[in-house]
Symmetry: D2
Subunit: 276 residues, 4 copies
């Protein structure tokens, strides 16, 4: 069976000898400039991935397909991005899958947009709202570079004015004051649909919880996710010295009939919510 060959317009990751990662879209005739010389895209197109290659200055590079985690972290950032560790939880908790229709606001730098677009494709849609023109354009560029533009509709809009869509499967808010937009969310979200948000402070979590209750959402869940990375040395296995201590609090809720959801119980152990 033939090996998978890199094609023009494919997104690839170049990794230099010193571990720097260059995320690029292969374009015939294009030359990639790096701190360790130039790589000619035509030397990559039509060739298998996973190979070593040499730059104009004699430095080694490896060219691989980027994982979604690598791709999200490689985008051009104009804001703090939603990291893959949180995006994985959002996908699973908001029940995102091929064919779903989902709203996000704001677009930010488009990291979550890329993850959402990947998993709703080919038949689903992401509706991505962003107020600030500069952010919107950057997010659009990032999504385009990832080859996912067909699955995303960007809209420059103050979401206080509401969403165009109705009966969407899920809504995710990454805005400073998510509690201000819950009526708009309710109008767009199908009954039994999934709501999610991320906020950095505990005060915001409390504020949002109050508003979710006031707007008759149910099944509220709040979580933090930690990722601990190890040095890959078999005879001296140990965690890395430093880890990310905080990215944000994730809040999830369901759009249900008022009063439908059982109240959170005060049992000491709730195995189902222990964090898995």
């Amino acid at each position: 069976m033939p090996k998978a060959l890199a094609q023009a317009n494919d997104t690839v990751l170049l990794i230099s000898e010193d571990g720097k990662k260059f995320y690029t879209k292969l374009i015939s005739g294009h030359r990639q400039h790096t701190h360790q010389g130039i790589i000619d895209h035509d030397a990559l197109i039509g060739q298998p991935l996973g190979r070593k290659l040499t730059s104009t200055t004699g430095h080694s590079f490896i060219v691989v397909e980027p994982s979604l985690a690598e791709l999200m972290k490689a985008i051009k950032r104009k804001t703090q991005i939603i990291y893959p560790k949180e995006a994985g939880r959002i996908i699973f908790k908001l029940n995102i899958y091929p064919g779903r229709r989902v709203i996000e606001a704001g677009s930010g730098s488009g990291a979550l947009t890329i993850a959402l677009a990947r998993f709703v494709s080919p038949a689903g849609r992401v509706y991505s709202y962003e107020l600030r023109r500069e952010m919107l354009v950057n997010a659009q560029n990032n999504v385009e570079k990832a080859g996912l533009s067909d699955f995303v509709e960007f809209k420059q809009r103050d979401i206080y004015d509401g969403f165009d869509e109705t009966e969407v499967d899920a809504v995710f808010l990454d805005v400073r004051e998510p509690w201000d937009y819950l009526a708009q969310v309710k109008a767009a979200l199908k009954q039994s649909g999934f709501f999610g948000a991320i906020v950095p402070t505990t005060n915001q979590v409390s504020e949002l919880l109050k508003a979710l209750k006031a707007h008759d959402f149910g099944g509220m869940e709040i979580e933090e996710n930690f990722l601990r990375s190890y040095k890959p040395v078999p005879n001296r296995l140990r965690p890395r010295d430093i880890m990310v201590g905080h990215t944000g609090y994730l809040i999830f809720a369901r759009n249900v009939e008022p009063g439908a959801f059982p109240e959170p119980r005060s049992r000491r152990r709730e195995p189902d919510n222990l964090g898995t």
Copy 2:
């Protein structure tokens, strides 16, 4: 726009007043027996979700669409399952998306199979290998109940005898001694393809790392994931008393040309691996 109505063969989640969750496939004429009375499936089919309903004994239930996280945790278990928090990482790190072809071994109870099948659908395939007949049948039943059988090929096989597929995009091993099967993995995996595994002990991590190096895999990464859940009470916001302290170590690697990948550097801080 019409509300989404539950259809026959849909998988739904019934939640009782006391928070118990019943995961069921709607079948005309079927009656669901619970500790709080009986629910008639015909009272659900054709009705909107997110509603409250009443059992034969007068107890309230709510019927909702299960999230993927809820669905994975609701399956019939014959083994320790891979939890959603790890499955989310696996999906992002192995670059699983609609259209991909992925091998997993063993099938276990099918929790990861369900997640993989959801995200490779509709055009991709999961090839799920399991040695033990009883496990295989249970996993098949769980995948069938989740409506995802079309996207999974189950095979009862000792994977020491190799995989049928070649040039797959990713391979994930959840077996006791993953280091024994790396030649077989290499034969099935495309160049630049993604390898992952989960093991519960540090000794296994060391053993697998050595074998991955010996088999010319590159870009090894090891991580642990923690999920910390909070009580959703706005004026007394606090984490739950108990959390899961360990599920397993995730190991990821890439199938690259021998020597292609840069060696892990000993820099104190490696921002790209800090756990996001």
Copy 3:
């Protein structure tokens, strides 16, 4: 050199074959009743510790000196206790050592009282305030059983009415609304002295921070402590499945001249506060 022998009035720990721990004060003539038979104290007094012995029903027990951590967890509880992992931090952050004078309120079950008393002895003092008679008596009994009564003065008092002491080295509050008592704390605490508190919710942390600032405290620090325990099996080394996810937030501050302490800086990394 002679082995250390158990003396009458010594506090020892009996550990049964099935791992149950019995914390007891050796009293001549006393007989310890357990679920696995009776142990005669006279068989322990004058004998070395670290030995195996046999109960009336033929079950094995081991008798050892309890560590401070074991002793604190073995006391009779009428409240949630402050755990050794937090007590260790409190001792180090409040600069408790032999000869210091420290106030705590409330006494609770006396777990922290025992730790404070141990480390201020022989020349220092703990002033332990508690409003509820029943709690006070239980804490006193626990401290007495630990042989530390000489170093603690218990007082039944509503601390809203103030403390008797002045110029103490440190004050620790484990009360529901610590912000209500900061004027009283200031009156009792020496300049440059150490303040600490523990609260279970984020809302209380915010409230206390505001009040500390209003009362001209400086150098505020907030922290959480996690302890992750491993199964002691060398060839299958792994963390325990379940861990404690939350005990409380520790808040520390210093009693300084108004405006003396530098404002917290917004630098991304503050190595000195990274949690060591």
Copy 4:
């Protein structure tokens, strides 16, 4: 009542406007040079602590008594130190208190030595062994600066040759291969006495566990400690972005009669070891 005044030979902490900490021993006539001007020690001696003062260049400083945690982190380092968060655990698990006799090896930079000396004083002793002359001298200087020399005996020695002391209450090893010295530890440690060690890798934990069992130690416990620090801002309460991900694994054991200690049980939950 008079305010506590700083005395000559007191150890104090100077904190600059920009949060830099200078740990110094007050000596009459000494002038402290900093990046923000000079502070005259004579301007501090005889004055109350907790005050603001001004350097020769007009910058503000605050002078406070250092906490034990601050003091340990302020010492001159020639090695990775044992951090206060681990030292607190060691003190509580090894049952260190006024009057105890404890061995540590190696001395390292003396951070743990300082904590041990503080808590065994005035009647107890720390016997601190170190092979490397340069380390020993640095540790001695650090302990002297902390005013704790009277409670520590330093010895330059390869501990493979054994310890001078017998019947000590506790032994702590911070060496690369602690398993090589367990016979020597047994010879020095009283029956029922406490053993502890810190190692950075999982491979070392496994090796030490095997050796402890072979040398008839009992009650083995392994733990990791995490400290998570928050930004002290009441209306935007949130953890710091970065935290320490790894310092070391702590191993504890007891010197008991062979076979005396119950085997670790395989119960899923062992509440007593959950990490408190």
